[in-house]
């Protein structure tokens, strides 16, 4: 069944189609949610909520792009809302603009598996983790991230740089290469 037919059946509320759509995207969407949360149950909660939104709003899908991209966007938005709502993340989800941010030119080769890299990203503080995911993985720019999170563009840039630097340092601990890092005023 092609996606267009699948979507139409989902709009009609046909359970088999919904199940098929879920099975088609659940693994990749759980991975998205996994990157934004700190635990698998939380990721599954986000994914559940996200899929419910998907099925509720699938009538709004305009066939202007990939269905997977549309679902992924919903998952990201759901994850962001989840972080804002959930107490476990609230305290860690603060975006303070230090005015200074590290600039790293390092582009280390990532030797880790996808899962290990995701786990490494999840070890970042929630604010860093969120911005890192939005920028490096989802592809948003800092203006967009600033709007999504209600923060200044510069704050987003700063937070990302710190997240990136931290992540690279963790990665380089596993390699003999030496990192280079300099600090510049924003």
């Amino acid at each position: 069944m092609d996606n267009q037919r699948l979507i139409k059946d989902c709009i009609k509320g046909i359970p088999q189609a919904q199940r098929q759509l879920y099975e088609q995207f659940s693994e990749s969407m759980l991975a998205v949610c996994y990157r934004y949360t700190k635990s698998v149950p939380d990721a599954e909660d986000v994914m559940q909520e996200g899929f419910i939104k998907v099925f509720r709003n699938i009538g709004q899908f305009k066939f202007q792009g990939e269905l997977g991209g549309w679902i992924r966007r919903i998952m990201v938005n759901t994850a962001l809302n989840y972080l804002k709502k959930n107490r476990n993340y609230q305290s860690d989800l603060s975006f303070l603009d230090s005015g200074m941010h590290p600039v790293s030119d390092d582009n280390p080769e990532i030797m880790l598996s996808a899962k290990d890299l995701a786990d490494l990203i999840r070890q970042l503080p929630t604010g860093y983790q969120t911005i890192f995911n939005l920028y490096a993985v989802e592809g948003f720019n800092h203006v967009e991230i600033g709007k999504m999170l209600g923060i200044n563009e510069g704050t987003s840039r700063s937070q990302y740089a710190r997240a990136r630097g931290l992540l690279i340092s963790w990665l380089e601990k596993q390699t003999p290469e030496r990192k280079t890092e300099s600090y510049v005023r924003q």
Binding site: P15, Q18, Q64, K84, Y135, G139, V143, G150, I151
Partner: protein, 518 residues
Amino acid sequence: MSDNKFEKQVQQKMDELKITPSGGTWEKIEAGIRSQRRRRFPIWLPALLLLAVGGSYFVYQALDNRSGPLNGSAVDLPSTAGDISDAVKESTGSVLEPAAGNDQAVALGDADNKEALIGDNLSVPGTKTMHAAERKGSDVREQAPVKKPSTDLFRSRRSEPSGQENNKADKVRRPIEDRDEQDPFNKATPLQPALDDTGNAGKGLSEENIAGIKENDKEAGEEEKIDAAAPLKEGFTLPSANEVDLAESDEKQMPSPMVNKNKRAGGNWQWGVSANAGMAFVSEGAGLHFDQVVVEDISMSAPPMMGPSFAPSPPSAIPGPSFTPSDPAAIRPGFAFTAGLVVKRKLSDKIFVSGGLSYAQYNTRARVGERVERSQIVNSGVMGYQNVGSYFLNARTHNYSNRYHFAELPLALHVKLNRSEKTPFYVNAGGYLGKLISSNNLHFDGTNAVYYKDESFLNKTQAGASAGFSVVAFNQRAASLWIGPSLRYSFSPLLKKSVSGSKRLVMPSLDIRLFFNK
């Protein structure tokens, strides 16, 4: 998006990442979907059934009028014991004498009776009606008893001057042959003058009138459509006998065939005012689904994943309203009304068309949080990001009324379901075209969990259908009042299709129209 090698590696790695959900996840999602699935109780079904029944009744009536004289099932029966006695005497050829104390005899001898015959259907179910062809040359007194008005009917209409009544054409329920002046029945019984050829009290009929009727009987072949249930109005001049299709009236079990004043005025426009008052609902989907309808999350309308943004930088560094419920508020019904001018035109005895111009206001309600007078960048989905001057928090602390102001052009067809002219009953069906004048409708940004106003998301032109029933009061007075339930359903989505094509305005209401009779 960064062009750095590092970011590309991360992106590539993360795209490869797949994690299998634990068992039971789908079941939870499915339960969530089912619990949030709108109960699709087809509340339109009663309205549809009502329309179907009304339509069937109308069709049945129309068919019945045509096939009635042919099926031969209708039999004229005397309505009282006196009638039966009369019929027996008639059939045996004996002289008909009024029974003592029989009001019916008095009624027959009273000219006032004519009006009673005129305005009401005196056809008793089961009354045998002779076909015109069968009547030729037959002895009517043996075939068809005389129909007489009920006593109560007669008594209730005694006030009219007899002189005026003499000029009125009367309903003919008897065969033409009954009017033969050589009829021994007419000559021999004291009731003879009481019952003229048209089945009415003939006491007041002059010989000239009788002669005139006879003359016109010969012209009975000419057909003329007559509104049988026409009300008698003051100053109303009854048509002469030649306006009465005697054969037609015999064949149909219709009340008194009269030329209606409305018939003469048929085709004229009739002015009036209209008003509708009811509740405005927002329905989601193609039918009428009101449950779980929530404020539209505009941020969901965007195409998959945002591309590079060209939006300006946020005007402030103040974080958006975080830590609030992310689900939008439910849309609850609110008061709605329309008011305007309407014109009506008669297309036939049973069908009218009306149109007009009206103002409509629909209100729906939602529970939102406090209003924040601060600039905020909101995610408007397909409309991109925009800066709003104020917004409402996503809480459930305050009532907010979404108002939609429309200028509308309604058009409706009214089909009469009954025969009464005093209290006609109509089924109404039509449509309307509306233009949005203004609105303070709130939209939801699920990303920032805020509500904000933006009229540009709304579908400015709305087209819809309306259906309902009306009973008419004071129909014979200066202004007739049409009142009844109606349902308005907008076919056009409330929001632009690029935003959401699923929400529609629905308004069950009480429809009131006041038409000024000329």
